[in-house]
């Protein structure tokens, strides 16, 4: 156990989820905890972390009832708060002492929490509804543990064991954002830019898909490589489904160990921690703790818990549809069970069917209510989709690949940039190009972004009635002589690092202007 705590401490991170509505009686405090990482921490420590967080939340709520505290900066730790659902809080405690994490933006960390939550909701529905379904909390705990562990551990070595506790403790490297990621934005989608003709073809395909599924209330998401081409979902659902697709469904995700241009799979060169030796002896400890606590549920749940983020469990079927054994197999036909996802806005339950042809991934969401006899009805829908749309899909794939400029399609030489539109869509220099930047530049940008985020929040608070977003322009010269620039205008944000720009500010501003005119249709051109 001692060894284990050393192990996790070296990760320098704690993550907990707790429900303020639970465990209000003395002696029942443990009931609050829905999730705690590292799990092998003594309960006393866990409770103290949660107790502190709860205290802070209650305290800050006195002054700001709508938005309680967001972050505490202590001497050695940062506490990042995120209220995922009302009264359900996610708190991440990050060790500041480690230099690599020091410059990590708070905002990026919060986005991680947000992403975990939205993915969880996508597959399991809201935590609150789960708690209502099963008040003891055993159900949600048994789901949260594997889910978050799967999420946090990047795609690593092949996972052969079934016992997730074993996975959990064999020292997987956690994937946390660092300053290296400051030229990307989590929780946004990356779009493929297409010409009008291709766009019409895509739309035509989307419509055919919708019509061939038989019901009008189905939705679709079309991806090319790891980029979004089309969606008919609401923005929030689009983001969570897109995130999942990029994590697990796209051709890159399917062939693990693929090329590294997609940021989500990129091994983080900066935080390369030597793999820790396998220490499994502590597994039994935590195992026992939870076994004893949820003894009644454990037997059933351990087998029933689905792990949508489990690695390497999706594969391409013969018919082109992606299948996974995560949700088990159908007893009758030996085909794998199609997952069901929840839409955030309507809370509708939808079957998730994913089809892949070369680089094209199409996700079709069919309402569960519209399919009468489960898998059988679904396979009919799939057949129909293939009949009606397969030709179109071939054509669209061909058209898109023709126009596709490769991994570095959106690279603009001389610039390292990040463009965020409305906090939903982003585009950035390819990660491989960002890697060429000096550490100083990245650290400076990381700081700058933090600054801009603060500014944005202030603007939001002060002038909430005016829907005109704050305009902002900051140019900073980093220690190494690079220009680090941020501009926001009408909901659009541009971050940029110019390392080879010469001395004058004028020149830097000029470069931004050029970039803005060329690639953003002049949105950031102030004059």
């Amino acid at each position: 156990m001692g060894l284990a705590s050393v192990n996790t401490a070296s990760e320098g991170m704690q993550l907990c989820i707790f429900d303020l509505r639970r465990g209000q009686q003395e002696g029942q405090e443990l009931d609050k905890i829905l999730f705690f990482f590292p799990a092998d921490l003594p309960f006393a420590t866990q409770l103290s972390v949660i107790g502190l967080s709860e205290g802070l939340i209650t305290f800050t709520r006195i002054f700001s009832p709508d938005a309680a505290c967001e972050v505490i900066e202590a001497e050695r730790h940062s506490h990042v708060f995120y209220e995922a659902e009302s009264d359900i809080w996610m708190v991440m405690v990050v060790d500041k002492s480690k230099e690599s994490k020091a410059a990590c933006q708070v905002d990026a960390l919060r986005k991680v929490l947000k992403e975990v939550h939205s993915l969880f909701v996508l597959f399991h529905g809201t935590m609150r509804s789960m708690l209502e379904k099963e008040t003891s909390g055993g159900l949600i705990r048994s789901h949260l543990y594997p889910f978050i562990t799967d999420y946090l551990s990047g795609c690593g070595d092949l996972n052969l064991t079934c016992n997730f506790w074993a996975d959990f403790l064999i020292g997987r490297k956690l994937q946390l954002p660092s300053f290296h990621d400051c030229l990307m934005e989590r929780g946004t989608v990356q779009m493929l830019t297409v010409g009008r003709e291709a766009a019409i073809e895509v739309q035509s395909l989307v419509k055919v898909l919708e019509c061939s599924a038989g019901t009008t209330s189905c939705y679709s998401l079309v991806l090319f490589q790891d980029l979004l081409v089309s969606t008919t979902l609401s923005p929030d659902d689009t983001i969570s489904l897109f995130t999942y697709a990029v994590l697990r469904l796209t051709p890159h995700a399917l062939s693990s160990g693929a090329t590294s241009w997609s940021y989500l799979q990129r091994t983080n060169a900066g935080s390369q921690v030597p793999a820790l030796s396998t220490i499994t002896n502590s597994g039994s400890v935590s195992d026992n703790i939870y076994r004893s606590r949820d003894a009644s549920l454990d037997q059933e749940n351990n087998c029933q818990v689905k792990r949508p983020l489990h690695h390497n469990r999706w594969f391409r079927g013969n018919d082109g549809f992606l299948a996974s054994d995560i949700w088990g197999t159908d007893n009758g036909s030996q085909t794998s069970v199609t997952p069901i996802v929840y839409l955030q806005l309507t809370e509708e339950r939808m079957y998730l069917c994913a089809y892949q042809h070369k680089s094209l991934t199409i996700i079709l969401l069919v309402p569960v209510s519209s399919i009468l006899n489960g898998e059988q009805g679904l396979s009919l829908v799939k057949q129909q989709v293939l009949e009606n749309a397969s030709l179109k899909m071939l054509m669209v794939e061909e058209k898109l690949s023709k126009g596709w400029g490769g991994e570095n399609a959106y690279h603009v030489s001389g610039y390292r940039y990040l463009l965020v539109d409305d906090e939903r869509v982003s585009r950035a220099s390819p990660p491989a190009k960002v890697m060429t930047l000096a550490k100083e530049s990245l650290l400076a940008l990381s700081k700058l972004r933090e600054e801009v985020n603060l500014e944005k929040k202030r603007a939001k608070c002060s002038s909430s009635e005016v829907n005109c977003d704050k305009e902002l322009e900051i140019c900073v010269r980093a220690k190494n002589g690079a220009w680090v620039i941020a501009r926001t205008s009408r909901g659009k944000e541009l971050y940029m690092v110019l390392e080879k720009a010469s001395e004058t500010l004028l020149y830097a501003a000029d470069s931004v202007e050029k970039f803005s005119n060329r690639y953003c249709s002049g949105v950031f051109s102030l004059d």
């Binding site: 779009m191 297409v194 009008r196 003709e197 766009a199 019409i200 073809e201 895509v202 739309q203 035509s204 419509k207 055919v208 919708e210 019509c211 009008t216 209330s217 089309s230 969606t231 008919t232 979902l233 609401s234 923005p235 689009t238 009606n388 409305d422 005016v466 829907n467 005109c468 305009e471 205008s489 009408r490 909901g491 249709s521 002049g522 949105v523 051109s525 102030l526 004059d527």
Partner: protein, 798 residues
């Protein structure tokens, strides 16, 4: 005896083909109220096949059987359709053109001038058949007494030539009544016939047993001059003015044919070719008769149809400049066959079976476009009969005025679309009922394709196409099917736009076509075809050439002729003159028609092609009104429409985009809408931006898209105004300075600045305008706000 014979064959058939007969019968019985084209075709073909096999040796039996089955089906039809007024794919309109004159010595048809001629002892009466009107008055011209074998007016209508005997043709000048006679030189040859031509070298072509004589006719010298002789032994000949093609038959069986095309660009000799004739047995040698060969002009291409009585097939040949290519055969169900061409649709009249079968030989398919149905008589006064008249029914129920026997022996089919009833001296014009043809087809895309090729009643056809498309969408057919139908309409439109611009170069051509008469059509197509034979510059047409290619050739051909006109080549100039002459004549006719019938105004349309605008106003908007619930189906179809127009490079007006936005906004499909806007599927325009702004009340994202669009379109004034409205007056000012927008009133900015209660900003705005607009300091606005600003500042100071 005969009776018994047939019953025995019938018996044989019933024994041998009972299963097929049962299937066909069952199929028909199942569908009886709705009669469709190709209804139970599969079963019918199976039965037919079987029957054919059974009575292989007896042609008679076959025909008999067919006519029997045709009768049976038509009687079913009358049963099934008597309520709906009777349906047939083609009809003749009552009343006919009556050419009944006392002392008439027969009826002649001059297909070059489209005149019906009826000579009496010393006069010849002529009726114009184009445009066809039953009330047209006859014109009389004087000729001398004498036998008449045929009469033709010259192309300039100034003189008349009368074929008197085997040796003699007599000429009359209409105005001066001058006359002279042209005699055959030698006794050994006799004149088979003659025709006038617009060929540059000669006026008149006389076909003799020894070949062709090309002559010029001069009334001043009262003589004809021989220009050229084409020596050839001729048994009989066939000529139509529409094709300018004369086919000369020679040989024992008369199946060796030589063709000459005598068009305004010159004379082309076609290669000699042999007709295919099946032999009933080794020794028999069937002889081809002139009645067995038809020249038809369809889509500007010239075909020849030949009856093969033994094989019971109608062989078709297509003429190219340097080749004659056999194209395939149509079935014959009657020993007497006649053909008509109406609006480029081929009608094969199976006279004995009393039905007509329609073919559209645009594509290579030899499948009929409709089931065999009889021609129908329409517009008969109520007193005659309450219901449509069908096969062979005598119309003469109440009145003995005229006896009309459908498909009777007295019927003569005139080129291209007239029927002359010799007994009652009446002439009928065949019309197609496109509505019936299209309603009997379930394949909407191919049906639309067929309709889009019809030129005669363009506006009617267009309305029909629109109605079909509307219904097709309202029935919520699969999007892919609707997409196909839309593709057909759009490509047809794009084709018509292209040819239209080409025809502008060749000027009058299109105008003459716009008369919408068959004459102009066929003359134009003849010109097209004649251009195929222009010179060495033209293309080599191989035997394997497909229809698509030849369609291309048609349009290329037109372009070429346009160029030729520009070059001012002699020959083409001549052609221009002749064709403009032609149009003048037709134009006159058209005016008369307009005087008669004002609703023809609409039919000035040259083609039933549907423009995107009409698609919008006549299809999408009405459908949008009728469709209830989720609009995604309609949006899907609009997207298909945009795809189609985009691939054909046709511009679409913004109203369709605005409509799409309205549809999507009504059901709050903002995600899709913003994708459509971002990807410019809905092309940016001011209208689109304004519509987006309107929906911006519901979704701020839309407002943003609208603003972006305005900026990209450089609609500075609107952009600045909207920015100020949003309260972003500083940004608006910056933008105004950059793009020198002075049209927005300063007071707007000042009000916005005042509303923000920031005296610094107000001061800045005030200062900006006093710099930006000369003389601003002297306006009352400046004074007002200067005062306000001072008050604010003193207020602060206090």
């Amino acid at each position: 005896m005969k009776e018994r014979n047939t019953t025995s064959t019938l018996k044989r058939i019933l024994v041998n083909c009972s299963s097929q007969a049962k299937e066909y019968g069952g199929c028909v019985a199942k569908k009886v109220p709705e009669v469709e084209r190709d209804m139970c075709l599969k079963e019918f073909l199976a039965l037919k096949n079987c029957m054919q096999n059974v009575c292989l040796t007896s042609v008679f039996c076959y025909i008999k059987n067919f006519s029997m089955s045709a009768n049976a089906s038509s009687s079913q039809l009358t049963v099934g359709l008597s309520g709906s007024g009777g349906l047939s794919h083609a009809y003749v309109q009552y009343p006919p053109l009556k050419c009944n004159l006392p002392g008439s010595r027969g009826l002649y048809y001059d297909d070059a001038n489209k005149l019906l001629l009826s000579p009496t002892s010393d006069q010849v009466f002529s009726w114009k058949t184009v445009p066809f009107s039953p009330h047209v008055a006859a014109t009389a011209d004087y000729i001398n007494e004498g036998p008449v074998l045929s009469i033709r007016y010259s192309l300039d209508a100034k003189s008349i030539a009368v074929h008197r005997s085997n040796q003699e043709i007599q000429f009359f000048q209409r105005e001066t009544r001058e006359t002279f006679t042209h005699m055959c030189k030698s006794e050994s040859e006799s004149i088979l016939g003659f025709f006038w031509t617009d060929c540059p070298v000669c006026d008149l072509v006389v076909v003799k047993t020894s070949g062709l004589d090309l002559l010029t006719v001069s009334f001043t010298s009262k003589s004809v001059n021989l220009v050229e002789t084409k020596k050839l032994s001729v048994n009989w000949y066939v000529y139509t003015h529409g094709s300018r093609l004369v086919l000369l038959a020679s040989g024992m069986q008369c199946k060796t044919l030589t063709g000459f095309q005598l068009s305004s660009v010159g004379i082309v000799r076609l290669p000699r070719f042999e007709m295919v004739m099946a032999k009933s047995d080794a020794n028999s040698k069937p002889v081809l008769a002139a009645e067995d060969v038809f020249i038809i002009t369809v889509y500007g291409r010239i075909y020849c149809l030949q009856i093969d009585r033994v094989a019971m097939q109608l062989h078709s040949y297509r003429f190219y400049r340097d080749a004659v290519v056999q194209q395939g055969s149509l079935p014959m169900f009657s020993s007497k066959i006649s053909v008509s061409v109406v609006d480029n649709v081929l009608l094969v009249h199976q006279v004995d079976a009393r039905v007509s079968i329609l073919y559209d030989i645009f594509e290579d398919s030899r499948a009929p476009i409709s089931a065999p149905l009889p021609l129908l008589l329409r517009g008969l006064p109520q007193s005659h009969t309450g219901r449509p008249v069908n096969v062979g029914e005598s119309l003469d129920r109440n009145s003995s005025n005229h006896e009309l026997m459908f498909y009777g022996d007295d019927w003569t089919f005139l080129v291209p679309d007239l029927i002359c009833d010799v007994a009652s001296k009446s002439v009928w014009k065949i019309h197609l009922d496109l509505e019936v043809i299209s309603s009997s087809s379930s394949e909407v895309p191919s049906n639309l394709e067929f309709l889009q090729r019809r030129k005669l009643e363009a506006s009617k056809t267009k309305q029909l196409c629109l109605a079909i498309t509307r219904a097709f969408i309202l029935e919520r057919r699969p999007v892919t099917m609707v997409a196909k139908a839309i593709d057909v309409l759009v490509s047809s439109y794009s084709h018509s736009v292209k040819t239209c611009s080409n025809l502008k170069e060749t000027k009058v051509d299109e105008a003459s076509a716009s008369v919408g008469t068959n004459a102009s059509n066929s003359s134009r197509s003849a010109k097209d075809e004649s251009r195929v034979g222009v010179g060495d510059k033209s293309f080599n047409l191989s035997a394997s050439d497909s229809d698509d290619q030849s369609r291309e050739i048609d349009s290329r051909d037109l372009q070429k002729s346009g160029k030729e006109n520009l070059l001012g080549a002699e020959s083409s100039r001549g052609e221009v003159q002749s064709s403009s002459l032609h149009t003048q004549q037709l134009g006159l006719g058209n005016n008369q028609l307009n005087a008669n019938n004002s609703e023809r105004q609409d039919s000035q349309l040259t083609s039933p092609a549907i423009s995107p605008d009409e698609m919008y106003s006549c299809v999408f908007v009405p459908v949008g009104e009728e469709i209830v619930g989720d609009p995604s189906y309609l949006v899907a179809i609009i997207v298909e429409f945009l795809r189609s127009t985009n691939s054909e490079k046709i511009k679409v007006r913004p109203n369709i985009y605005v409509f799409t936005i309205q549809l999507l906004v009504r059901y709050e499909r903002f995600a899709e809408l913003s994708l459509l806007i971002i990807n410019k599927v809905l092309e940016p325009s001011k209208e689109v931006a304004m519509q987006l702004l309107e929906s911006g009340h519901q979704n701020p994202q839309m407002r943003k898209l609208a603003l972006d669009m305005l900026r990209q379109l450089s609609l500075h004034h609107d952009y600045v105004t909207l920015l100020v409205q949003d309260g972003c007056y500083l940004e608006a000012l910056r933008y105004a300075r950059k793009h020198k927008v002075t049209s927005v009133r300063p007071s707007l900015f000042l009000e916005a600045a005042l509303a923000s209660k920031d005296s610094q900003h107000l001061a800045a705005v005030l200062r900006f305008f006093s710099d930006f607009i000369a003389g601003f300091r002297n306006t009352p606005e400046y004074q007002d706000y200067f005062r306000i600003l001072n008050e604010m500042n003193t207020g602060l100071a206090v």
